[in-house]
């Protein structure tokens, strides 16, 4: 690891000040991706601004028919939250399946989505549930937030503060993990809210995407039998030694079916 200046502000305002003051500052949330990256010397920030003590970014509440989860809320807290389990059990289950217990104790929703790993679970959760990303500057619909490989709509100095999730009628997340890393080879969040069905896929491509063909199939008949084949273009899907693009495409359909079955209970 290269050395860096370390800052631990107590408020969001102080964090932004520290970030602006730094030559090449980097926000740290739970650090479960950032620290391994630093250890491999793949990043060399001048300063780390640790949000660990910014209490205003923590917590889960219900607000105007949506679940609002503070950016610094850990995966373990989301997984264990009675509120989340009552309102969007699919989201609690998704959080329970991220990484391992120790990662879940440190890793946060804000950190996960700001990093936008193409195989991370939360991007599928956000897009599938039609979430809104709150930052210190604005609110961004999840559909617009995840731009590409490790790329988001966040501007320099912009920090995720919370994510709000509208409550679906039904939802479930199904993941096919990479047997080694346990990241998603394919992860699918399906959600039905009124007549709208959203199907968000992580792991399979350069970033989370919606499978509109499957959404169309499910709109009129929200059942596993109706899922059909994925419309994803094989050429745009990931292929590696763990899973070819064709296999991933197949798994999108299989995982969607399983998610729909689970959502239907």
């Amino acid at each position: 690891m290269y050395d860096f200046g370390y800052h631990r502000p107590k408020s969001l305002a102080d964090a932004i000040t520290e970030l602006q003051r730094a030559e090449d500052g980097q926000v740290m949330a739970g650090g479960q991706t950032l620290i391994p990256t630093l250890k491999q010397r793949l990043a060399q920030p001048s300063d780390i601004v640790d949000l660990g003590q910014v209490d205003e970014l923590k917590g889960i509440s219900e607000d105007g028919g949506a679940l609002v989860i503070g950016a610094m809320t850990t995966h373990a807290e989301v997984a264990a939250s009675d509120l989340v389990k009552a309102k969007i059990p699919a989201l609690a289950a998704l959080a329970e399946g991220i990484g391992d217990p120790q990662v879940r104790h440190r890793g946060t929703i804000g950190g996960s989505i700001a990093n936008n790993d193409p195989a991370a679970d939360y991007p599928a959760g956000c897009v599938g549930l039609g979430a809104t990303i709150h930052t210190n500057q604005r609110q961004i619909p999840a559909d617009d937030f995840f731009v590409g490989l490790f790329e988001t709509a966040l501007d320099e100095g912009e920090i995720v503060t919370a994510v709000s999730f509208p409550m679906p009628d039904k939802a479930a997340y199904a993941k096919f993990p990479n047997p080694a890393s346990r990241y998603a080879i394919v992860g699918v969040m399906v959600a039905q809210a009124g007549s709208t069905v959203r199907v968000a896929v992580t792991g399979a491509g350069a970033g989370v995407f919606r499978d509109h063909a499957i959404e169309g199939n499910l709109a009129g008949n929200f059942s596993a039998d109706a899922v059909g084949a994925s419309s994803a273009d094989e050429g745009s899907l990931n292929g590696d030694m763990h899973a070819s693009a064709a296999y991933r495409k197949h798994l999108i359909s299989v995982m969607t079916k399983r998610a729909v079955s689970a959502a239907n209970g």
């Binding site: 050395d3 096919f176 047997p179 080694a180 890393s181 030694m241 899973a243 296999y247 798994l251 299989v254």
Partner: protein, 784 residues
């Protein structure tokens, strides 16, 4: 053996320190004034190194020295040797090109050692290592064993990248056998490359005392005495008297810590050169790149059978990947530890095996848990399964038809080994009963109703352990003897120090050996202390590999105990005023036969050190050393059966049941033995379903971390059901055979046999990853 703790599940004596964080592994230790070493490793699989520019790095804070290969050459540091010379089919010795600890001209695999940076702190050494500029001229590389002979040349000394072309058996005889065949089964298979991954990364600390000219090297070694011998005799020239090697607690080995590696050699040399202790601890990433890998065979096999399904002959053609250099014992793995096991448990009268060992631009390959024997078992048990399916014969029945029978021992195989004893059908029958073989059809039907494909797979394995008679291995090219030594030293107070040349890195020797000594000498187990892993304390040793510790090391201890008892009898005879011939030793007491005149072991030990009343012609002290050179290998054998269920939609294979029935001969501690079986199965399961060391065509390691190299985890495995049968080894004093590798040998074919049974296909290569299984399931469904 007297009654006592032997045969009991005595709790491990080593656990207290491991459970409380008081284990002492190499990286836990520090020496005053030590420097941190970081290696500059090749980023290319094959390149000429035109220049190493260390000027910028030398300016980096904390840097003390940066060395390259020519610095070691100045001090006449030699090449890392291969300790076993295989003679090829033309009578020529194998090609063993130089393997310098720091390269001199060329790099030959990604991770090869270009330079070493020594700095005050580890982070400073890392900072500086990034600033070392290496000017590479890239050369074309090859990672495939099958393509090696036509590939760009790695070593001038090895034309066609061929290390050896070796044969066991007679070509004429095998052709004759095949000419009578009613049916020939042919299989092409790959034994996938594995990366050992002991959880403790390798580490070394070297220190030089200029006053006494003594070197001390703390190393994560499975065999400190062998490491000392190699470093002294072949690499550094430091006399054995001036080199002490300490292998303290070592966090797993599985073969990968047998060898003399570049890193510890460089530390040992550099500590004198800079006049300060030098420490190195590998990262996991470095372990992936530069620990010796395992397996990596490509094989074509043919099995000839008569109309009754009896085996007439087995013909095997294997290409074995040695990697970029010949590691210490790499040459013997695909020959004397592989081809000699191709008779398996069967009466196959003729076996012919041709092995070509080749160099490629990959990490060196050497012995990994099982070493050759898993490869042989996989060849045999896979081929027999395919044969059974082709012939429409029950796979258990085909095996039984060909088993060596209990009354045929000692049994001379056509591949050099003489099995002393065994009862293969007993193990198979017990395993079939334990898994309820008769109920399998019903379980398969029930699984099908749930949309799952269920399969069953057998593996009837044999291994040759307790390596081995020195005269035999010497005649086959080994550069060392393979005895073991032990010293059993009573102290005046009746406690016993047992110094063994075996080394434990998870096997529980401190417990098992103590049980043996306590029972043999009739002393409380608490009074026995096992000392190992330090050439400064233990006089001699050959170390731990090939499941040899109890069979060979334990036998040496038994022999030393015997000498102690013999001397004790002389002391007792004197004290009891009887003749030595009349003294009987039992349960810790020396008794005049037929009388109640007796002296305890403790009294005898005390007398030996306080010899006020003592035989005139006898030396004081009760301290005996023994060497044991085995008369034969031992032959653990057994049958494992597993059942799997496949989800045809995803291709995921779940192991739903496992029975292991093994004949390890006498068992000293069943708890430890079962633990060894569990761990072996897990590694074998890893090979069959998860693990694969993969290089891309340019020679970059794609599976260089746990992100891509799939280690078995708790949720990948079931509970295992372990049973035992017993035929005692006939030629060692303990009747033991060895248990450390059995699971890793037995498991891979059991799983692939089960997976292919579930899928209804004849063969698939390991690892049976979900995508591969899914594709076969699709094909099978389409064919239906």
């Amino acid at each position: 053996m007297p009654d006592g703790s032997v045969g009991q599940a005595v709790k491990r004596r080593e656990d207290q320190r491991f459970l409380t964080g008081k284990g002492r592994y190499v990286d836990d230790l520090h020496r005053q004034g030590e420097l941190a070493a970081v290696f500059v490793r090749s980023t290319h699989a094959h390149a000429t190194v035109r220049n190493v520019d260390k000027s910028a790095a030398m300016q980096s804070p904390g840097v003390v020295a940066i060395f390259v290969g020519s610095d070691m050459e100045e001090d006449s540091i030699g090449s890392l040797p291969c300790g076993w010379t295989v003679t090829d089919r033309h009578g020529e010795p194998h090609k063993s090109p130089p393997h310098f600890p720091l390269i001199r001209d060329k790099v030959r695999y990604v991770g090869d050692h270009v330079a070493v940076v020594l700095a005050e702190t580890l982070e400073q050494a890392r900072d500086a290592a990034e600033l070392v500029e290496v000017d590479y001229e890239e050369l074309p590389a090859n990672v495939s064993p099958a393509a090696a002979m036509g590939a760009p040349l790695l070593h001038e000394e090895a034309p066609d990248n061929l290390c050896y072309d070796w044969v066991l058996g007679e070509e004429e005889a095998i052709n004759e056998a095949f000419s009578k065949a009613h049916h020939v089964t042919k299989v092409d298979l790959v034994n996938n490359r594995l990366i050992p991954n002991a959880m403790e990364p390798r580490a070394a600390i070297a220190e030089y005392d200029s006053g006494t000219e003594d070197y001390t090297l703390w190393s994560t070694s499975q065999n400190p005495h062998v490491l000392r011998l190699i470093l002294s005799a072949f690499v550094t020239g430091i006399p054995e008297t001036k080199l002490r090697i300490i292998a303290p607690d070592v966090g797993g080995g599985f073969g990968s810590k047998i060898y003399c590696y570049a890193e510890e050699t460089v530390c040992l040399w550099a500590c004198k050169r800079v006049g300060r202790p030098v420490r190195w601890t590998g990262d996991r990433s470095e372990a992936f790149l530069a620990d010796a890998h395992g397996r990596d065979h490509v094989t074509h096999v043919e099995l000839a059978m008569d109309e009754k399904g009896e085996f007439l002959g087995l013909k095997v053609d294997t290409t074995a990947n040695m990697g970029a250099y010949l590691s210490n014992f790499a040459s013997c793995v695909p020959t004397y530890l592989y081809a000699t096991l191709l008779a398996g448990q069967y009466r196959t009268p003729v076996v012919y095996c041709n092995v070509k060992a080749v160099f490629t631009n990959t990490a060196p390959v050497d012995a990994y848990r099982g070493a050759g024997r898993p490869e042989a078992t996989y060849v045999l048990e896979r081929t027999i399964e395919v044969a059974a399916r082709e012939l429409g014969v029950d796979p258990a029945e085909l095996r039984k038809r060909n088993f060596i029978q209990p009354d045929q021992f000692p049994y001379q195989t056509p591949v050099a080994l003489t099995y002393d004893i065994g009862d293969y059908e007993a193990s198979l029958n017990k395993a079939m009963s334990m898994i309820d073989h008769a109920g399998f059809a019903a379980r398969k039907a029930e699984a099908k109703a749930r949309g799952k494909l269920r399969g069953i797979g057998f593996s009837a394995y044999i291994e040759a352990c307790g390596i081995a008679p020195s005269s035999v291995v010497g005649s086959l090219g080994a550069g060392v003897g393979l005895w073991e030594s032990a010293q059993v030293r009573f102290n005046a107070t009746g406690t016993v120090s047992v110094l063994t040349g075996s080394h434990a890195h998870g096997q529980g020797h401190e417990t098992t050996f103590s049980q043996v000594v306590a029972d043999t000498l009739g002393v409380p187990i608490e009074n026995v202390e096992i000392v190992h892993g330090d050439t400064g304390q233990v006089p001699m040793g050959m170390g731990t590999y090939g499941s040899r510790s109890l069979a060979v090391g334990g036998s040496a201890i038994m022999r030393a105990c015997g000498k102690v008892i013999d001397k004790g009898k002389k002391i007792a005879a004197h004290l009891l005023e009887a003749s030595v011939e009349d003294i009987e030793f039992k349960d810790g007491n020396f008794t005049v036969a037929g009388t109640d005149k007796t002296k305890s072991m403790a009294e005898i030990a005390f007398t030996a050190y306080v010899p006020h009343n003592y035989p005139e012609d006898l030396e004081p002290g009760l301290d005996e050393t023994a060497f044991y050179d085995p008369l034969n290998f031992t032959y653990p054998a057994g049958t494992h059966i597993c059942e799997v269920e496949i989800d045809p939609e995803t291709g995921v294979t779940e192991i739903v049941d496992w029975v292991a029935v093994d004949d390890f001969g006498k068992v000293i501690n069943p708890m430890i033995v079962e633990g060894q079986v569990h761990g072996g199965i897990a590694q074998g399961m890893g090979q069959a379903l998860l693990e694969h060391g993969v290089y891309d065509e340019s020679g970059q390691l794609l599976t260089g971390s746990y992100m891509d190299y799939c280690m078995p985890r708790a949720d990948d495995l079931p509970f295992f059901r372990v049973g035992l049968t017993e035929t005692a080894c006939t030629h060692n004093p303990l009747g033991v055979k060895g248990c450390g590798e059995a699971g890793a040998i037995a498991a891979p074919p059991a799983i692939i046999n089960a997976v292919t049974d579930a899928l209804g296909v004849l063969h698939m290569d390991m690892p049976a990853t979900p995508e591969k299984v899914w594709r076969l399931a699709q094909q099978a469904a389409a064919a239906e």
